[in-house]
Amino acid sequence: MTVLDQPVWHPRTEPAPLLPDAEPYRVLGTPQARTLEPGLLTELYGRLVRGRRYNRQATALTKQGRLAVYPSSTGQEACQIAAALALRPQDWIFPSYRDTLAVVARGVDPVQVLTLLRGDWHSGYDSRACHVAPLSTPLATQLPHAVGLAHAARLQGDDVVALAMVGDGGTSEGDFHEALNFAAVWRAPVVFFVQNNGFAISVPLAKQTAAPSFAHKAVGYGMPGRLVDGNDAAAVHEVLTEAVRQAREGGGPTLVEAVTYRIEAHTNADDAGRYRDDAEVEAWRDRDPIALLEQELRARGLFDESLVSEVEDDAERMAADLRDRMNEDPALDPMDLFAHVYAEPTPQLREQAEMLRAELDAEAGS
C-alpha cells in the first residue's frame, strides 16, 4: 500500500496524547548537557552570536533609514537557530515577520531576507529554491499553508516536513485552530512551533490565553504537545529535531511551545516602557540564551579565545557585509508593479501600465 492509497484522514484509533510536562524541558545546566556533542554546542553558540549581531545591525539600519521597520528577535535566538537546524534541505519553513534569523540560518541571503522590511518588494528570496515561505505579516495565516504543503508532499510520496512558526499572540487567531485541526485530521508532517515571548506587541500572556500552556492545546487536537525552555538552545534543538523526525516517519504533527522572552520592543517603532518594567527585562537577561550556552561551553573547557574570536569575526564580517549591501540603493522599476499580478496582465492592467510608462517618460524628459 503506497501513501496514495491511504485515506487522507487519520482515524482515531490511538490513545489520546498525554498532557505536556508542567515545566519547560531543559538541557543546559542539567547533567544531560554533558552528553551534548561539542560540535553542536559550538555551532549553536556561533550561530546565536551571529544571529544577535544580525538583529543589532538590522535595528541600526532602521535608524539610518535603510529599513522601514525591524522586529528584533533578540532573546529568542535559540528558537530561531534551532528551528533552522532541525530541518533537512527538502523541508519547508513558514516564518512570521519576526523569524528573520531562522530564515538566514536556513541559508537565505541576509539582504534578501530584509526586502520586505526595506520595502523594495514584499518578498526578496526565491521560496521554491530555498524552501522558505515568504515572511508572513498577517499572524497565523501561514500555518494552514504549511499544512497544505506538507499534505501535498505526502500525497506525492515525498519526504518533506513543514515547520510552521507562530507567536503567542498568533495562537489566538482562528487560522491557528484550523491549521492544527487539519494537520491532525490529515496526519500531515507538520511541526507547529510557538515562540511564546510573553507579549503580542504590548498585550501580555495573561490577556492572551487562560490555558495552562500553549502546548496543552495540542491535546485537544489529538497531537502531542511539548513545552520547552526557549532560551535553552540545546533543549529547543532536541525537541524540534524529535518532532520533525516523528513527522517525517508518519507520526503526524506536533505542537511545540518554547517559553522565551522578547528582550527588545516589538519593533524599533514601539515603546516597551509603556507596558513593562525594565526589572522584568533584566530578570530575563539572566536566562540569556547565549550566556546559557557559554556557561556550558566553559564548564566543558570548550570556551576559549580561539572560539570567541572566530565567532565574533564571523559575526562582524556578516554585519559589515549586510551594512555595505544595505547601504546601496535597491534597483527599483515601477513597471514591476504590473508584471506579476497575473500570469498575463489583463487588458485593464496593460492600460494602466501604459499610463504609468507615459508618466515615467514625462518625468525623465522634464
Binding site: 484522514w9 518578498s123 515568504p134 499544512v147 504543503l149 513543514a162 487588458p347
Partner: protein, 342 residues
C-alpha cells in the same frame, strides 16, 4: 469526414443540466491532470450539497476528492499550501455566504502570492462558489458576493450562464495559472440545454464576453443568473418594438471592454442587470466603463437594475428583490426614447 464527425457529434447531444456539465468538467480535469485535487465540505461521499462532485471520490479516491473539516479558511489556506507545492487545488465553498471565513486567506494570500514573490509562487487555484438567490434559500444561502472578489486585484472572477459555458469556463479556470473565483449561479444548476459531454462546445478562454441575443435598440449587460432573465425580457420587449441585445459578460475579471464597447456603441443605450446590491456593485463599475468609452454614442444615461441595497431578503420576499422582467422593461422604457429617437 468532417461532416460525418459533425453529424455524429450533433446526434450525441442530449439535454444536460449545468450541474451535470460542472460535474463532467471536474471529472475530466481530475482524469487529465494528476495535480488536480478537490477539497471541500461534503464533496466526497455525499457528492456535495448540490451534487456537483457526485461520484468523483468514488472514481478518483479520497485523496483527490477530499471531505475536509468544516472550516473554510482552513480549506482555502491548506489549498494555498498545496498549490505552493505544485498541485492544482479546486476548492468548493458550500454556499456564497459560507465563503466569508476564507476571505482573509483570499485577500491576504491567494490574490497576492504571485505578485509578492515576483511570479515565483503562482497559485493555480480554483475556488468554486455557488452564489445568488432565487432558490428559496433561508438566510446566508442566497448572497451575490462578486463585488467583494472584484475589488481584490490578483483574482480572476468568472461566472457561467449556460450549460456549455459551465463546462468550458470551469475547465479554463482549473487550467489557469492564476486563482479563479468561479461563481456558480445556483438557480441555474438545474437549467437544461442540449449538450454533448463527449464533444463539449468550444468555449473561449477566461475574459471574453458573448452576445447571447443580437439586437439594435439597447444592450442589456448582465452575467450569471440574470442572463436568462434578460433574455426573457428581450423577448417580451419585442412586443413594445424594442430589439434588445443581451450581452453575457461571463468573466468579470478580466473584463471584456472591447465586446461591451462595440455593442453599446452600436445600440447607443445600455442597462446593466445583476442581483447583488447596486451601491458599489459590479454594475457601478460597468456603467462607469461604458460611459467613459461610449459617451458620444449614448442616447441616454446607462441605467442599472439590481438588487436593492438591503441584506438578502427572506425567501418569501425575495421575488421583490431580484431583478424581474418587468423591472428590466421599466428601465428600458426610461432610456429617453422620445428625446433621442429609437
Amino acid at each position: 469526414m468532417t461532416t460525418a464527425l459533425a453529424t455524429a457529434r450533433a446526434t450525441a447531444r442530449k439535454p444536460a443540466t449545468m450541474a451535470q456539465a460542472l460535474n463532467r468538467a471536474l471529472r475530466d480535469a481530475l482524469a487529465d491532470d494528476p495535480s488536480v485535487h478537490l477539497l471541500g465540505e461534503d464533496i466526497g461521499t455525499l457528492g456535495g450539497v448540490f451534487r456537483i462532485t457526485d461520484g468523483l471520490a468514488k472514481e478518483f479516491g479520497d485523496s483527490r476528492c477530499t471531505d475536509t473539516p468544516l472550516a473554510e479558511a482552513g480549506i482555502l489556506g491548506t489549498a494555498v499550501g498545496m498549490a505552493m507545492y505544485g498541485l492544482r487545488p479546486v476548492v468548493e465553498m458550500q454556499f456564497d455566504a459560507f465563503a466569508y471565513p476564507a476571505f482573509e486567506q483570499l485577500v491576504s494570500h491567494v490574490s497576492r502570492m504571485r505578485n509578492r514573490t515576483r511570479g515565483e509562487l503562482p497559485l493555480p487555484l480554483t475556488i468554486r462558489v455557488p452564489y445568488g438567490g432565487g432558490i428559496g434559500g433561508v438566510e446566508h444561502h442566497s448572497d451575490s458576493s462578486e463585488a467583494y472578489y472584484l475589488h481584490t486585484p490578483g483574482l480572476h472572477v468568472v461566472t457561467p450562464a449556460t450549460v456549455a459555458d459551465a463546462y468550458g469556463l470551469l475547465r479554463a479556470a482549473i487550467a489557469s495559472d492564476d486563482p479563479v473565483i468561479f461563481l456558480e449561479p445556483k438557480r441555474l444548476y438545474w437549467s437544461k440545454a442540449d449538450w454533448s459531454p463527449d464533444a463539449p462546445d468550444e468555449v473561449p478562454g477566461i475574459g471574453q464576453a458573448v452576445v447571447r441575443r443580437p439586437g439594435r435598440s439597447a444592450t442589456l449587460i448582465t452575467y450569471g443568473p440574470s442572463v436568462p432573465v434578460c433574455l426573457e425580457a428581450a423577448e417580451a420587449a419585442e412586443a413594445d418594438g424594442w430589439d434588445l441585445e443581451v450581452l453575457d459578460l461571463r468573466s468579470l475579471m478580466p473584463f471584456d471592454d472591447e465586446t461591451l464597447t462595440a455593442s453599446v456603441r452600436r445600440t447607443g443605450r445600455a442597462v446593466v442587470v445583476h442581483e447583488s446590491a447596486g451601491f458599489g456593485g459590479a454594475g457601478a463599475e460597468i456603467a462607469a466603463r461604458v460611459t467613459e468609452r461610449c459617451f458620444h454614442h449614448l442616447e441616454a444615461p446607462v441605467l442599472r437594475v439590481t438588487g436593492f441595497d438591503i441584506p438578502y431578503p427572506p425567501p418569501m420576499l425575495e421575488r421583490h428583490h431580484l431583478p424581474s422582467v418587468d423591472r428590466i422593461l421599466d428601465a428600458v422604457a426610461r432610456l429617453q426614447w422620445d428625446e433621442g429617437g429609437a
